[in-house]
Every structure is written in C-alpha cells, then in structure tokens.
C-alpha cells in the first residue's frame, strides 16, 4: 500500500509539472491548447535517445528535452496561435497526434532498458521510489517558484493581459503574437521536462502512452485545480492521480473497469463547470498588490467563492 501511495506521488509530480506547463499556456495566456501529450512524448523520446542511443547522461538529456520540445512548440505555435478558442484546440489536437505518429514511426517498439540517472554516484533505481519522489517533487517546487515569479513579471503580466483582452493588450503596446508564442514555447518546454522525468523513472518509452487522452487529462488537471493558479494545478494533479488509481487503491480492479476513470474525469469536469468553474482554488488573480489580508482572503474563499471568480458577491 505504501508502495502504491509512493507511485501515485511520483505520477502526481510528473503530471503537476505537465500541468504547470499547460497552465502557462491555458491559465495565463488563455489559449486552449490540447497537445501536451505531444510535448510529453518529445521529452520522453529525447531522453531515451540521448541516454540509450548516445549513452549520455540523464542530466544532459534534461535541458535537451526542454529545448527540443520548446522548439517543436515554436513550430506548432507560429501557424496555429492565430486561431482562437475551439479552432486552436482542434489544430493543436491534430498536431499532438502527428507528434505521436512521428514518434511511432521513428521507433514503433519504443525503447527499453534505458540507463538509469545518477546523481553524485547515487543510481536512481525504479524500485527506490522515495528517491524519485524527492527528485520529481524538487522539480515541481522549482517550476512552481519559477512560474509564480513569472506571473509577477513583465512577461507574465503581458500574458495575462492577452488572456483578459487581446484588443486592449495590443492597444497598450503588447505584441500579442510574441507573448502567445513565448507562453506556448515555455509551456511546451516544461512538458518536455515532464517527459524526461517520466523516462528516468520508467526507463522505457512506448509510443502508445502519449495519446490525446493524456492531453485531456492534463487540461482536466488545470481546470480542476484552477486556471492561472500554479498552486492549484499541483493540487489538481494530485487529485487526478488519486482518482486514476482509485480501482487499484480500493482493490476493486475486478469490479471497476479501467475505462471508469475516463467517466470519472468527464463527470468531474461537468460538475466543476457547473459548481465551481474557476477550479478548486480559483484563479490566482490578486497578484499585483492584493490589498486583502490573509484572513480576508480565507473569508472570501469560504464565504464568497464567487468573489474569487470576479463575479458579484
């Protein structure tokens, strides 16, 4: 059982990193993209190829995974980011599938027995889950801090302005295209790193594991936690991972079919959209000089949940 919780924590961490990337794209900049599985795939493959084919270190593959996947993000972003809403969603969905197909053709059987990552002589072996929990959650923490800083930065403010109102953003001298692409590339790079970390843990890469359901799950995670709120999407990732392992956790694998989790995600999304569209923790909107005290924030959160959404109390 403990083993199982550890496994969930590992995947929660990997998905939290994915969700932080998706949150940059969808939460901050407001672009409904559905191809994070593609970036995840690129990161995994890059790591597999670098560590196995070239026999280089995992630590070298980490930045490469980010760069390659960021670069593919750039290639995808330039033509598609002019599209809005559902059109962007469909275009990115298609491109995510193309990435998976290219990966499948590159190596249909995937990669196995990829060399382990080492740190100061310590070998990260899959059976030692605790070490992976530390490794992966260290990255979650790093990206959490980085993106929290980003939200307060000039770049982050521009991205949020684009999300809120493109016309107004442009009129204030913000180059909308530039910030959309930057946001997309950043999110893609983070998705690549998540792929890299997953490969370090599983030591195998299978093209079948990067279907568009993964993208949907990542988007669900962001919506569930709270769009534009880095803390919230991490919480979302933990919840989603617990749900997806619910059959195993309850020991009811025979009773609950594997597909049940897709139904649960779907239901969860519907319920969220109806009851709390801003996500569990809501949007992190009060960023530049929130005048409220901590007590007032808590009060608003529990007593006026709609206030967090910007609605009338």
């Amino acid at each position: 059982m403990l083993n199982f919780f550890q496994l969930i924590l590992i995947y929660a961490g990997i998905y939290a990193i994915m969700a932080i990337g998706q949150n940059c794209i969808t939460g901050y900049t407001g672009m409904l993209s559905l191809c994070h599985a593609g970036f995840f795939c690129i990161g995994s493959y890059a790591t597999a190829i670098i560590c196995k084919t070239f026999g280089l270190s995992f630590w070298f593959s980490l930045p490469v995974a980010a760069i390659v996947s960021g670069f593919v993000g750039l290639l995808i972003g330039i033509p598609t980011l002019r599209l809005k809403g559902d059109y962007l969603c469909i275009a990115t969905l298609g491109l995510g599938e193309i990435i998976r197909n290219v990966a499948t053709n590159l190596n249909p059987v995937g990669y196995n027995s990829i060399p382990r990552a080492t740190l100061f002589g310590y070998q990260f072996a899959s059976r030692n889950k605790l070490a992976f929990i530390f490794l992966i959650w260290a990255f979650v923490l790093i990206f959490y801090i980085l993106f929290q800083q980003l939200a307060h930065s000039r770049l982050g403010r521009a991205m949020i302005a684009v999300r809120e109102d493109e016309v107004a953003a442009q009129s204030n001298g913000i180059n909308v295209t530039k910030y959309k692409i930057s946001s997309f590339v950043l999110g893609a790079a983070v998705g690549g790193i998540a792929g890299c970390l997953q490969t370090a843990y599983t030591l195998t890469v299978q093209p079948g594991s990067y279907t568009f359901m993964v993208s949907v799950m990542v988007l669900c995670t962001v919506v569930l936690g709270g769009m534009g709120n880095a803390k919230a999407v991490i919480l979302g990732a933990v919840i989603i991972q617990f749900i997806s392992y619910l059959p195993q956790l309850t020991g009811l694998t025979n009773v609950i079919p594997a597909q049940a989790k897709q139904i649960i995600y779907g239901l969860l999304l519907v319920v969220m959209m109806l009851c709390r569209p801003q996500g569990i923790l809501g949007r992190d909107k009060y960023r530049y000089g929130d005048p409220r005290t901590r007590k007032e924030k808590l009060h608003d959160f529990f007593v006026h949940p709609r206030k967090a959404k910007g609605g009338k109390v």
Binding site: D165, S171, N172, G173, N175, V176, Y288
Partner: protein, 245 residues
C-alpha cells in the same frame, strides 16, 4: 502647428463588403478633431485602420512623418503594438477594460511600454488627481465600476503611455448626459494642458463639434462634409441629420 496624422485615400473592406471608401483626412498637432456619423457609418473601422487592426485595401496613413499603415503590396505597415509605441493610443468602443483587474492594475497595463517605475508611479498619481474617482477606486476591480467610471479609467489607461495622439471611439456611448459632459470637459483639459492631439469619434454630434476645432462627417463609409467645428454646427445638412433641428 504641423500635421501629425495624415490619412491618404484609404479604403477598408470586410470581405466583399466595403466599409470605408477613399477616405482622406488630416489632423494637426495639438488639435481636437471630431468625426461624426450614424451607427454603421464606418467610424470604428476608421479608428481600427489607424491603429493597424484592420488592413487597408488602398491608400496609406502617415503619423508624424512615418508611414504606419499601408496596403499589403507595400508591406502592410506596422502592427498595432508598434503603432501604440509610436505614440497613438486608442480608447476603443466598448472600452475594453481589463474587467478582472483593479483600476491600478489597469493603469499599470497602460504603462506597459514605460520601463521607468518612478515615472509610472508619477503618472498614476497624476491620473488619480485628474480623475479623483479613480483614485478612490484604485484597489477595486474595474468590473465593479460604473460605466462612466470605466470610461474614465479607459481614458486614463490610454494616457499612461503619454501618447501624442489620443483616439476616442464614442466615449459618451450609453452614459448619462451629465457624465458625458464631464468626460468631454476632461478631454478638453487633456488636450489643452497635456498637449495631446485628440481625434474623437461620436454620434453625439453637438457635444463633439462644440469641443472640436475641425470636424468630418462620415456617411456610408465616405466623408461627405468637412469644416471647422462651429461651421459644421451651423451647417444646414448637419443640423438636419445629426442635431435633430
């Protein structure tokens, strides 16, 4: 004073529908110029064309001696954000405030192009002095402001970048007459004291022409009349069509 904006024979279409046909205009630096016209005449389209949000089918637009808008054949001109950086600020129709941001955050966004924080703070204080209601509401979400307050905030946000030319698209739309009067008074002060050239688009012809030195009348995408502000107010056609006389 010299000419700051020159619109040279421009046409704009939405697909196969012509919205503007061969428009030529000239705006002198330091002036208040207004454009009046009925709903659907093409007023907003003209402002969008000036800031590069709608491409030109023909003609060109020059700002302070630099060609900012051109047809596709001539490289198409600058993008909206670059035009904003040249010193043209548009307060669009419907205001386009950042509704979920506070007044202060909106003003911060207006100063996106300004890198000097001290200067931004100074300008914010100036705005709060000039629009006291905004000072009182600076920590409040813009969504919770009244229509008139939001309009003032949109104008203040546009002024945060210290533009040379301020474009206003129907600042009085949907507001109570007293509030409209207040806004027009402010516009006059902005023009006189801050030396900002103002190009004003309005359906409220009387108020607009009264505060302008020069005016244009737009009908079905064409300029049908142009003259000094007072002269247009006395013009028989204008009186009949726009002043309800």
């Amino acid at each position: 004073m010299g000419e700051i904006l020159k619109i040279d024979n421009i046409s704009v279409s939405y697909g196969s529908i012509r919205a503007l046909t061969d428009i030529s205009m000239s705006i002198d630096e330091g002036a208040v110029v207004s454009l009046i016209g009925a709903n659907g005449a093409g007023k907003s389209t003209l402002l969008k064309a000036i800031v590069g949000q709608e491409p030109l089918k023909s003609g060109s637009i020059t700002f302070a001696g630099e060609t900012i808008c051109q047809t596709k054949h001539h490289h198409g001109g600058l993008t909206t954000d670059l035009i904003a950086r040249r010193g043209i600020a548009l307060v669009p129709e419907g205001r386009h405030v950042f509704a979920d941001m506070t007044v202060e955050e909106n003003l911060d966004m207006g100063a996106f192009m300004v890198r000097d924080q001290a200067l931004i703070n100074k300008r914010k204080e100036e705005m709060y002095d000039f629009f006291p209601i905004l000072g009182a509401r600076k920590k409040q979400k813009t969504r919770s402001l009244s229509g008139g307050e939001q309009q003032m905030m949109a104008i203040a946000r546009a002024l945060m970048s210290a533009p040379r030319l301020l474009l206003l698209d129907e600042p009085g739309l949907g507001l109570a007459p007293l509030v409209v009067q207040d806004i027009f008074n402010k516009i006059k002060i902005i023009n006189e004291e801050n030396k900002v050239t103002v190009f004003l688009v309005e359906q409220n012809a009387r108020l607009a022409l009264r505060s302008s030195s020069y005016g244009y009348v737009l009908e079905n995408g064409k300029i049908v009349l142009e003259d000094k502000g007072e002269a247009l107010l006395l013009n028989e056609k204008v009186q009949k069509a726009y002043l309800g006389a």
